[in-house]
């Protein structure tokens, strides 16, 4: 028994070591491909990782599907964008305001929406996402409508403006790593266990005293807040946003990242986000064929790696990263 209790703290230590290793890797990565275009792509890998983790907390841990997460991402981006342009607020102030507003919205909507189950929940979240998209499109005076909102300032910290890929890389990965650590801690805690319990058997969890409904709403709001943060960072990195980036297709892409990476795994979300962000780069040379390769790859991944990348890594390294390494020299 003593051994088992200790083995618990050993797993904790292993998790921590893994995380530190991963962080170090992320932090030295820019030295390896200094400057080039890849830096820019890696910035987006960071943003997408954050979003994939947000959705994974909801889908992989609590078992609740959302087909509208791009909406929360967009809402964060727009609130940040509007506050910093029209109202010239400091981005560091706009970001938490956006997160808070999105969190409140998700909390309020969460109660009725998470009462729904299965495909009804899928439909309702999809509807929610589409409504948000339409609002971005139609409130032209506020959002600039379909032509987008430009002139969003970069983030600044202690006199340094985050206006280059390398700087943005560190800014965004700083946040992403924090979100990762946050989520890893959460997953291995009392709350994380309760979430997974709700996923496996909601009624059994309730009988044991877990307030499943409240917990689902909490995690929904948390997921929305993380998405909103990613949205704010996206807005301040891109300095331009338009509704097209926050549509239904992106919600589906996020879902794909989470599933391809591995449900219920934080590092899986990173792998999924990295693969789906890098894939178009790898397929760039294939011109119009890329959509076919992309679709075919999704099908093959689910068929041959149904547990997601995180459960098939050795295979993955052989299959995916080798060809990419070759293309880099071009």
């Amino acid at each position: 028994m003593e051994k088992l209790i200790r083995s618990g703290s050993n797993t904790m230590k292993r998790d921590l070591l893994l995380f530190i290793g991963f962080s170090v890797l992320i932090m030295v990565a820019p030295q390896l491909f200094a400057g080039g275009y890849l830096m820019n792509v890696l910035v987006f890998v960071g943003i997408n990782t954050m979003l994939a983790i947000a959705l994974n907390l909801l889908l992989g841990y609590a078992g609740q599907i959302s087909l509208g997460h791009a909406g929360f991402f967009g809402l964060g981006a727009y609130i940040s964008g509007i506050l910093t342009t029209t109202f010239s607020l400091n981005p560091w102030l706009a970001m938490p305001i956006a997160a808070l507003a999105v969190g409140c919205l998700a909390g309020v909507i969460g109660f009725p929406i998470l009462k729904l189950k299965g495909h009804y929940l899928a439909m309702a979240s999809l509807g929610l996402g589409i409504i948000m998209y339409i609002v971005f499109n139609e409130t032209v005076e506020l959002t600039g409508g379909p032509s987008g909102l430009s002139g969003i300032p970069n983030m600044k910290l202690a006199g340094v403006s985050f206006d280059s890929d390398v700087k943005n890389y560190y800014l965004i990965w700083g946040f992403t790593l924090a979100v990762m650590l946050f989520s890893i801690n959460l997953a291995n805690s009392r709350v994380g266990r309760a979430l997974r319990a709700v996923h496996d058997s909601e009624v059994a969890a309730q009988v044991l005293g877990v307030n499943a409904r409240l917990l689902k709403v909490q995690i929904f709001a948390l997921s929305a807040i993380i998405s909103s943060l990613a949205g704010s960072l996206y807005a301040h990195t891109m300095t331009f946003i338009s509704p097209a980036s926050f549509g239904f297709n992106f919600s589906i892409e996020l879902l794909t990242m989470v599933v391809i990476g591995g449900l219920g795994s934080i590092y899986g979300s990173f792998l999924g986000a990295a693969l789906l962000t890098l894939l178009p780069e790898i397929l760039r040379g294939a011109n119009d064929y890329d959509i076919i390769i992309y679709g075919g790859l999704l099908v093959l991944m689910v068929m041959y790696m149904p547990g997601g990348l995180v459960r098939g890594i050795p295979d993955l390294f052989k299959k995916i990263f080798k060809p990419k390494g070759g293309a880099d020299h071009a």
């Binding site: 028994m1 083995s7 009392r190 009624v203 059994a204 309730q206 044991l208 005293g209």
Partner: protein, 251 residues
């Protein structure tokens, strides 16, 4: 301890329970028996807040708990198990029991995610507590196994350990012996008595008459949604109404 009165449940015009009333006293093992379709599981679902009944009230330790959701009832120290064990299949055996400690711990979402010192020490306490219950039910050696891969009999024990982790004063078991072989059933009888001996009131729905007659202090018989009889095992065995109900039924 537990008092139900006038429980009536109507599903789309079909009366599943018709004004059922009884009281269960603390420290007893009470069996609820009856032929298939008598309404036993429905009754359990109502008492534990999973179904909302058409009429009637439930009192727990003198407190009106009618219509409270299951998670509130757990905090009032009532817990149950399920006929087809409802394990958290993707989690380890230990983690399953740790979920049972949910009401006995308090770290919130943010405290957990930011690893506040108190949440770390609480986590340790949860782990130790959970191990204690695994020992109690004799499956401590399986702690690191994934719950979904357990054989049925071990799963049953895990479900009971998990329920005990809530530290209930009353536990309701829905057919705990279903699917167990005779050896496992003997072990189960032993365990249920042990649970009662720690001061927990036990109510069980069961088909295995031998088990019921062996361990129950009192028995309630349901038939076609109404209470047919109530009494000690001996009284029930001698009741002509009960015998008629069972013989009139194929089951």
């Amino acid at each position: 301890m537990l008092e139900v009165s006038g429980i009536t449940q109507i599903f789309g015009g079909v009366t599943a329970l018709d004004s059922v009333s009884f009281a269960i006293s603390a420290g007893d093992i009470t069996g609820v028996i009856g032929p298939n379709g008598a309404g036993k599981t429905t009754l359990f679902n109502i008492i534990t807040g999973i179904y909302r009944q058409t009429a009637g009230t439930v009192h727990l330790e003198g407190k009106n708990v009618t219509g409270l959701p299951p998670e509130k009832l757990a905090r009032l120290a009532m817990v149950r198990t399920f006929q087809n064990i409802e394990l958290f299949g993707g989690m380890t055996v230990l983690e399953n029991v740790m979920v049972g400690m949910h009401t006995k711990s308090s770290a919130g979402l943010l405290a957990c995610a930011f690893k506040m010192p108190w949440s770390i020490s609480e986590e340790r306490r949860i782990r130790e507590g959970a191990m204690k219950w695994l020992e109690f039910t004799g499956i401590v050696d399986l702690a690191d196994h994934v719950a979904g891969s357990l054989p049925f009999g071990k799963g049953r024990l895990l479900e009971i350990a998990r329920a005990l982790a809530v530290e209930p004063r009353i536990i309701l078991m829905d057919e705990p012996a279903a699917g167990l072989n005779s050896q496992e059933t003997v072990g189960l009888a032993q365990l249920i008595k042990q649970i009662r001996d720690t001061g927990i009131t036990v109510v069980l729905v069961e088909h295995d008459m031998e088990l019921v007659m062996d361990i129950c202090d009192r028995i309630i018989v349901l038939n076609l949604g109404t209470k047919l009889a109530e009494g000690t095992p001996r009284e029930i065995q001698e009741s002509s109404a009960v015998i008629a109900a069972y013989l009139g039924d194929d089951d």
